[in-house]
């Protein structure tokens, strides 16, 4: 037999990503030369012909107006055996002239056809394996990108909320699976003012996260220097315009609050309007301005408002209003506005928005975009805070409880110490026996650990929310996680003997400690969140006791 060297080349372009070339060298049979690979255009009539051919085709006998056929003839191809698997042409077996210079006999062709019949499925399997490998690599690449984007994003979110005397500040951030470009931050400004940012970068993934990081850094650098929100956005826009990748921009609301007077100045670069909750109903604060990074030379209107005692404000990103239910209806701004109308602010407003959103989207909702919510509420009257119906049951004798601290921490190992220290700091100046304070600290740390571990499975994106109230007679700490409906089990006294005998785990002291340290422990759940409430009376036995 003459030289039999053939190149089987994937010629169909239907799956270009999987284009595959399989070289099968049959030198064991005979032959030394190899044909160059032929590129056959998808519309070449030769393809249709081969796909329909039942067996070996003698190239010299073909009469087709085909560039590929001409190329084959020039290369000296005499016989082509189409490789067909499950009705699909997956390659060609190309043969040159026989070494004996005689034509291929019918026996030769039969042998080749048989070879093709066996080779085609094997080659198809090889092609499928390669396609699957390529797909797996692509999946891994996307997941890696997601991890990087999440990492960048989390790097720039505030680790804790600012403690503003006479104000409740609460925030919520939940990234979508694809990680959008949401961000928020609080910036300390001269004169005890505070800058509040909520922004959203168009696009998703790593590019959005990088633009977010740049915008965030520019805002942080310019805000304390320029103060006026309009000027800050103007300057950041100028700096961003040249750096911005094509088709990307950043919407951003920037507010400057003077906590002492409630005076608020805002400028808005195309972001959702902030809602202010007043006694007369909710108000949208409108300030004109285009998103950052779109065009040079932009100016930003500045609008002022004053938040009176009891009034609050909500800043929000698209993730809420643009969430869809299974019927593809949008949650919409009116629903948000209505919620602001019913709940003035604070953590309670965030909780209600999230509850309503979950009820709207239903179970199994795939969050489409990042969700960011920031709420501010100015304490009413002399700084007393009505804890609202959700927590009113724990109020003792109608005693007014003042909100002393409200913050969240990510669920990360060791963060219970942050919570413990912040609660203790907030109680500085409060008349609490040091021994009782120590007991509260231990209970708070243990409850936070439980919330991070059992409620939030140590997922850093699931925060633990902490609220601290104090009255003349008692201190209350509410610690909320995302633990759903599960009740905290009854604390039983751990069996030390069983533990020492190795019959019980050496661990399992947390609940026992919590109940020993404080005067009352209650738990509740509400819309997927689980709250443990610790009450410690200011007066009482300074010795801890066994849980009853």
């Amino acid at each position: 037999m003459s030289t039999i060297t053939q190149t089987v080349r994937r010629v169909l372009r239907r799956r270009p990503a999987a284009a595959l070339e399989v070289d099968v060298d049959l030198e064991a049979v005979a032959g030394h030369e190899e044909f160059p690979p032929f590129d056959i255009a998808p519309d070449d009539p030769l393809l249709t012909y081969f796909a329909a051919s039942a067996g070996a085709v003698q190239v010299d006998h073909l009469e087709l107006d085909s560039p590929a056929l001409r190329a084959m003839r020039e290369a000296g191809v005499k016989v082509v055996v189409p490789l067909v698997s499950q009705g699909e042409l997956i390659g060609l077996l190309n043969l040159g002239p026989r070494l004996s210079e005689r034509d291929y006999s019918s026996d030769d062709r039969k042998l080749l056809e048989e070879l093709a019949t066996h080779a085609a499925p094997a080659i198809r399997v090889a092609q499928l394996v390669r396609e699957q490998e390529a797909e797996a690599r692509e999946r891994e690449r996307l997941q890696q990108e997601l991890r990087v984007a999440t990492l960048i994003q989390q790097q720039f979110l505030p680790k804790e909320l600012p403690g503003l005397g006479g104000w409740q500040v609460a925030a919520y951030y939940q990234s979508a699976r694809e990680v959008g470009g949401d961000f928020y931050d609080f910036i300390e400004l001269p004169g005890d003012q505070v800058g509040i940012i909520v922004g959203d970068v168009t696009d998703k993934g790593v590019p959005a996260a990088l633009v977010m990081a740049t915008t965030h850094s520019l805002l942080r650098a310019e805000a304390p220097r320029l103060i006026e929100p309009g000027r800050v956005l103007e300057r950041v826009n100028e700096l961003l315009v040249d750096e911005m990748p094509p088709n990307m921009f950043v919407t951003c609301l920037y507010a400057v609050l003077d906590p002492a007077t409630g005076r608020l100045r805002i400028a808005n670069a195309g972001h959702n309007l902030p809602y202010v909750a007043t006694a007369d109903g909710p108000v949208e604060l409108r300030a004109r301005g285009l998103p950052l990074g779109l065009m040079a030379g932009m100016t930003y209107e500045e609008v002022q408002a004053t938040l009176e005692p009891g009034e609050g404000m909500l800043l929000h990103s698209d993730g809420v209003a643009e969430a869809h239910n299974p019927e593809r209806e949008m949650f919409g701004f009116p629903r948000l506005l209505d919620l602001v109308d019913r709940t003035l602010g604070g953590q309670e407003l965030i909780d209600r928005i999230l509850d309503e959103l979950r009820a709207f989207t239903g179970a199994g909702w795939l969050q489409e975009d990042d969700i960011t919510l920031v709420t501010l509420q100015r304490s009413s009257g002399a700084g007393h805070y009505d804890a609202g119906p959700a927590t009113a049951a724990a109020l003792t004798n109608g005693d007014a409880h003042e909100l002393l601290a409200q913050f969240t921490v990510p669920s990360a190992s060791g963060n219970e110490r942050i919570v413990m220290d912040r609660v203790a700091d907030a109680l500085t100046g409060y008349d609490l026996d040091p021994a009782r304070l120590e007991r509260l600290k231990t209970a708070v740390a243990e409850a936070t650990m439980n919330a991070m571990e059992h409620g939030n499975a140590y997922r850093e994106d699931l925060p633990v929310a902490v609220r601290l109230y104090a009255s003349e007679t008692a201190v209350r700490v509410l610690i909320t996680d995302h633990g759903g409906e599960g009740d905290i089990p009854e604390a039983t006294t751990p069996d030390l003997e069983a533990k020492l005998a190795g019959l019980q785990s050496p661990r399992g002291w947390g609940l026992f400690l919590i109940q020993s340290m404080v005067d009352a422990v209650t738990t509740s759940h509400d819309g997927g969140r689980h709250t443990i409430e610790l009450v410690l009376h200011t007066e009482g036995d300074s010795n801890a006791s066994h849980p009853v």
Partner: protein, 118 residues
Amino acid sequence: MTQQTAALDVQTVSPRTAIIRIAGDLTAAREAALMDAYNAAATAETRAVILDFTNLEYMNSTGIGLLVTLLVRANRQRQKLLACGFTDHYRQILELTRLDDAIGIHDTEADAITAAES
């Protein structure tokens, strides 16, 4: 904040007695450090190991779990576990958990050494 991975200070007082000084936090994160320290402190002749908590900043329920683990180990090796330097708060927790039944609690290192050597 104390380095969670920091090694614990170990001192041999006599062939029979060793001291482990626990500074900073005692939580599950320090399990390896505590067990390493115990390995370094307890030889075949050691009869008593004193845990000095004078510089303890924070101990949580997982730290109590570690003390139980250590107790089990000390019992197995026929060694006595003593502790000193607790604040009133942590001493109260030791009482509540009844760990003070199993661990000899003393005010100072000197008291604990006297008790260990007697």
